[in-house]
Structures are given as structure tokens and as C-alpha cells.
Amino acid sequence: MDIEGNLNLIGYGLAAIGPGIGVGLIFGLGVQAIARQPEARGMLQGQMLIGFALTEVLALIGLVLAFVL
């Protein structure tokens, strides 16, 4: 059986595991924190989104490199 294609895609798939776990942790723990302290929701959401953005960019860098390299 012949398999053709680009090895970069497998690399990107592996690279997306880390940010995936990270984003899951951020939102999971964020929701937990909001459930424990609903009045802090506004502040927590802001922090959650910053953490999300910083983690997500790792997956996006991987995506760009999968195209570039």
C-alpha cells in the first residue's frame, strides 16, 4: 500500500496535542472557578480568554509552519 502526502501534517497533528490539552484545562478550570464564585465571572472570563489566546497561538504557529516548511 502506497501512502503519499506530507509528513508535516503528522507533525502538526502531534503539535496540536499540547495546545489542545492546554485550552481544555483553561476552559475547564475557568468554568469551575465561575461555578464556585459566580460574582467573579467578568474578571475570570477576561483572564480565561487571555490564557486561551496565549495557548492557542502555539497550535496556530504549528499550522503556519506546516504550510511554510
Binding site: 474578571m43 492557542e56 497561538v57 496556530l60
Partner: protein, 284 residues
């Protein structure tokens, strides 16, 4: 989906169950969708001339200007329906972004953040407007220009507030770290704050829009590829079913993309105000 991809899919008569045994990889959209042919070329070095991106940029600028013209043309103390939409947007960004990141001082930068948000959002939304369908931010040049603007601005604010030494020391020396670890931390902080930060700030909307646009293009082209009414009998029915699934996925992901577009614009101004807030605050 780009014009070239549509034409490639339509022209070559390449369909599932077709006679010429054509595979999807022959019509699948790739990165060439992000390099449209120039409409007008000036022949200047290092320029691409006027491409679809330039036109869509003009369209999105007009869209933002039109939004503010329509909503605030007849401003009143008691807002009308349209004016309250604009006011809700401004209040939302003030409460959720600038006050959170910069405190009361941030109100000065609220107009900038609202403008950046709407501009980025309208540039992103070009990707799902039928007929246009190319997010302007899927070309790195456009988010990069905005990121460079924010980068220059937070450095300028920091230097104005705390002086050159005060600003750069506060940025590269983390507060509360023991002296002996500084030789290790300072280079990391320099790379993080002055290199990685602007690069990732620009890369984030770019990569999100690039991947989102490719995703939509794959479903659109795939749906067209799998639709083959001439296959005969059962295979025709099957191909209609397959392309129906692709159509449903396309519609669902279009809605999802709209959410991602708003989120990326929001995250962009969120980070911009967090950088500005750090520069305002000085050492921490």
C-alpha cells in the same frame, strides 16, 4: 472559496464516481487560494499591485464607516434602536476589555480599541460574505500592520510614562526574581516581550483566518466534487447524499467561523489593551 478553486472544480469536470477516475486531491483547495492574481499591476518591486485583498480592505473600511454613520447620525441622549447597538458595543468593550486590563486610565484608549475591534471584525467577516469570501486578515500583511502599530504604541506609552530605562527595565526584569537567575531570565524576557509578542499578536488572527478559510473551502469544493448526477442509478443518489452532508457541514462551519471571527477580533484588542496596560503600569 477562491475564484480559482471554483473554476478548477467546475472546469475540469472532476467528480466522484466520474469516468476519468479523478481524485479529490486534484481539485482540493490549497494555499494558492491566498494569492489571488492582481487586478492592477504597477510593476513596482516587492509589491503585488491591487489584488482582491486591497479591494476587500476598502470594502471593510467603508463597512466600518457606514456602521458608525448609520448608528450615530442622529445621536440623542435617549438612544434610538440603532444608536443603542453602537452604545452596547462601546460599553461592552469598556467593561470587558479596557477597564479590566488598564483600569480607569484605559478609558482614554477605549475609542482606539473599539475601532480596532470593528475594523478587524469587518476584515474577518469578508470571509463569509457571499460573493466576496476571502477574509482580508488571511494575508499576513494586514494583521501585521495593526500589530506593529500596537507594538510601537505600547513602547511609546511606556517610554513616555517611565522613561527609556524605566520602561525597558520593567519589561525585561521580572519583579521578585532572585538576582542569580536574572542572566537566564532576561534573555528569555527580551525574546518574549520584544520578539515573540508582536509576532504572535499578528500571527493569531492571520492563522485563525487562514485555517478557517481553508476549512470552508474544503467543504465547498468537496461538496461540488462529490455531486455527480451523471453517475447513474444508485451512485447518483449516493453522491447527492454525500454532497448534502458537505453542504450541511459548510453551513454549520460558516456559523462557527462567524463566532471565531468575532473571538479573534476580541482577543486581538484584549491583548493590545493588556500590553498597553502593562506599559502604563510600569514595573510590577
Amino acid at each position: 472559496m477562491s475564484d480559482e478553486a471554483i473554476h478548477a472544480a467546475a472546469g475540469e469536470d472532476c467528480h466522484l464516481f466520474g469516468d476519468n477516475n479523478c481524485g479529490f486531491e486534484e481539485v482540493a483547495p490549497g494555499v494558492e487560494a491566498f494569492f489571488p492574481d492582481p487586478i492592477l499591476e504597477f510593476g513596482l518591486p516587492l509589491t503585488a499591485g491591487i489584488t482582491k485583498y486591497t479591494l476587500l480592505l476598502v470594502v471593510s473600511v467603508l463597512l466600518v464607516m457606514g456602521f458608525w454613520y448609520i448608528t450615530t447620525r442622529k445621536s440623542a441622549v435617549v438612544p434610538g434602536r440603532l444608536q443603542s447597538v453602537a452604545e452596547m458595543l462601546v460599553t461592552f468593550i469598556r467593561d470587558q476589555v479596557t477597564r479590566q486590563q488598564m483600569g480607569k486610565e484605559g478609558d482614554k484608549y477605549l475609542p482606539l480599541m473599539v475601532t480596532l475591534f470593528l475594523f478587524l471584525f469587518s476584515m474577518n467577516v469578508m470571509g463569509i460574505i457571499p460573493g466576496l469570501q476571502l477574509p482580508v486578515t488571511s494575508h499576513i500583511a494586514f494583521p501585521a500592520a495593526l500589530a506593529v502599530y500596537v507594538y510601537v504604541m505600547w513602547n511609546a506609552i511606556g517610554i513616555k510614562r517611565h522613561g527609556v530605562a524605566g520602561h525597558f527595565v520593567a519589561r525585561v526584569v521580572p519583579g521578585g526574581a532572585p538576582k542569580w537567575i536574572l542572566p537566564l531570565l532576561v534573555p528569555i524576557e527580551i525574546a518574549q516581550n520584544f520578539i515573540a509578542r508582536p509576532v504572535t499578536h499578528a500571527l493569531r488572527p492571520f492563522a485563525a483566518m487562514l485555517s478557517g478559510h481553508l476549512l470552508l473551502a474544503v467543504f465547498a469544493v468537496g461538496g461540488w466534487y462529490m455531486l455527480n448526477l451523471g453517475a447513474g442509478g444508485f451512485l447518483s443518489v449516493l453522491s447527492v447524499g454525500y454532497s448534502g452532508i458537505a453542504l450541511v457541514a459548510f453551513i454549520v462551519f460558516t456559523g462557527f467561523e462567524l463566532f471565531i471571527m468575532a473571538l479573534q477580533a476580541y482577543v486581538f484588542i484584549m491583548l493590545a489593551s493588556s500590553y498597553l496596560g502593562e506599559a502604563l503600569e510600569g514595573a510590577h
